[in-house]
Amino acid sequence: MSDVLVKAEGVTKKFCKSIKHLMFYGMADIGRDMLGMSSKTDELRSNEFWANENISFELRRGECLGLIGPNGTGKSTLLKILSGIISPDKGQVEIRGRVGALIQLGAGFHPILTGRENIYINGSILGFSKKEIDKKFDKIVDFAELQDFIDTPVKHYSSGMHVRLGFAIAAQMEPDVLLIDEVLAVGDAGFRAKSFNAITEISRNAAVIFVSHTMPMVARICSKVMVMAQGQSIYQGEDVPFGIEEYFGLFQQEKTQVIGKQTVKLLNITINGIADPKAVSKIYYLDDLVIELEYLMEEYTDEYSVSIAIFDKTLRCVAQALSRAVGKIFKNSNKKQTLKIIIPRQILNVGTYSLSIHFVANSSGDGYRGDKILTHFQAIRSFKVGGHIVGHAPIQLEAHWEHQ
């Protein structure tokens, strides 16, 4: 079960930026073809650029390759080449077995026709006979959960229903090679979970290439990853978390923002002793994380509390610490103050995180109600947890394992 199903060698594709050139080049190429001369495909003419440059990889049955990269870096182009919609300008693609491509769900749906009619049309576009579709029809409808609307014209479907129907048809194809573009993002949470289960199931018996911007999903279902930037592959391998880190490294850091009443002036901040805002502090799993703050506060409030929040690269808040939660309320001395926050044996997974700090005025009331945010320093600094990644959850709990 480990035969190579997809093999790409030096795949290169160029595109044209201007439509006038495009028409002209198109005619020139066609003219050459007609005369039986091979088109010169390996050099750029003016106004052309490489959409894919020298991409090589191999994928076996049972593997799932995550294709990630910023917008416009040639991921979809690569999928189109792999599915044979466009041909490469250089290099070679070899594909073994039946290919299912989900580059755009519902491409080929006719808006006026009903869901039932469209299942048959789409099925035959994907290469099925009527008999095969007959057999799979009920499964498709069940999967799409469209029993009540199967005889409604597709143009009255919501975009989620559209996606569900399209995916349901493709999921029943039992392909050897499955190419999926970022198409599932439209569905609701339930359907997304369902489709990911379906993909996982298919990938057990097929080679799957999965384009996505949803990194947690990539981390969950991919066994390999390729990071693309400007048409080139900048990382590929089985270290999926590393690839995801590389992907996030391609983007600008989140900008520091100061929100709220500017009653707090942050003078200095150090993370594990490093104060230089340009240097990134690096710590390891189960190290202590020590944050020291030095600040001035106006006489706006007598008492206040402080909280910190830690965000990962997807801007998801993965951990918080609130001083009030442990009953720590600080008195405002109206002078320069310092605060040392120690988080012992930190359990964040490997990666880069950004830190936000809130200063909150304390109300005399019960609980947190009535507390006012004084100042909120968002993404004030970032730090790195180094080492070897284990697992893909942002928090890796330190458990006691008792084995007998």
Partner: protein
């Protein structure tokens, strides 16, 4: 070389630059098998387009009758008032015009629907891999369907005009079969050109409007030089139309040589067009 999912799952496909050119003579068998494989899809698309077209209309299929009927009455009137001095025709004029219209529309609508077929396929073309020839065949399929449903109306026109066709009218479909090759062959070329330059579709509309008058649709085939040469010999549609009319009225072909040369031209155009389409179409998908 398409990766259309196939029954045999252990099939290997290779995509590389100019892979169709490199295939050489082998490409013909490939093209042929691909077409046989996708026949079901052609049928599906024909059914799809027809049912979609008539679904949101009250008159539905009646629209197919309206066009040739209006034209028929227009020319009956023009002839009757002697605005257009059209000589004697072999069958009553109403039947003559309607019959001519049916053959002409089979040709002109067929070519024009195929011309738009790649453009209207839209996302299907850029997101799904399937043999694109299917689009041309299904476009022509629609036109054939329209031709077929006009037949009962033609018979009604025959009855009203008091015309009794020869039994050899049953051979007309066979005589017109090569015309379909002409339509598809032209369709291959114009659909690609229209995919790249949209002017082609507009120009084609004008050519078809004029073309009807360069074909003996509303007047009998001219017999005197140079018109006879221009209309009957240069224009391949005339050969088919005249042959079909001959079979309906006299029972044999009055100009078999012209008919045969039209057939040869049609087949030639079909195969050259098919080969051209197969070669160029991958370049169109990324440019449409």
């Amino acid at each position: 070389m398409k990766s259309r999912p196939n029954r045999e799952s252990e099939r290997v496909v290779i995509y590389e630059p100019n892979h169709i050119l490199k295939a050489g003579i082998r490409v013909w068998s490939e093209m042929f098998y691909e077409l046989i494989d996708s026949w079901g899809l052609v049928w599906r698309l024909v059914v799809r387009d027809i049912s979609a077209r008539y679904k949101q209309s009250i008159l539905g299929i009646l629209w197919t009758f309206l066009n040739p009927l209006i034209l028929m009455f227009t020319f009956i009137w023009l002839k009757g008032t002697n605005v257009l001095p059209i000589g004697e025709t072999a069958m009553p004029y109403a039947a003559f015009v309607f019959f001519g219209q049916m053959v002409w529309l089979l040709f002109s609508k067929g070519v024009m629907t195929s011309a738009d077929s790649l453009v209207t396929a839209g996302t299907m073309l850029t997101k799904i891999n399937f043999p694109r020839e299917v689009l041309i065949f299904s476009a022509v399929g629609q036109t054939i369907f329209e031709f077929l449903i006009r037949i009962p109306l033609l018979l009604i026109v025959f009855v009203f005009a008091g015309f009794m066709p020869k039994l050899s009218i049953l051979l007309v479909p066979f005589v017109l079969l090569p015309l379909l090759f002409l339509v598809i062959g032209l369709g291959f070329f114009v659909s690609l050109l229209n995919g790249m330059i949209r002017d082609v579709g507009n120009i084609l509309g004008i050519i078809m409007n004029l073309g009807m008058f360069a074909t003996p649709v509303v007047y009998p085939a001219p017999t005197s030089w140079p018109m006879s040469f221009l209309v009957n010999v240069i224009n391949p549609v005339s050969g088919f139309l005249s042959a079909a009319r001959d079979l309906t009225t006299v029972g044999y072909l009055t100009a078999p040589m012209i008919y045969v040369s039209s057939v040869i031209l049609s087949l030639l155009l079909f195969f050259v067009g098919w080969r051209f389409f197969h070669l160029v179409e991958p370049k169109i998908a990324e440019r449409i």
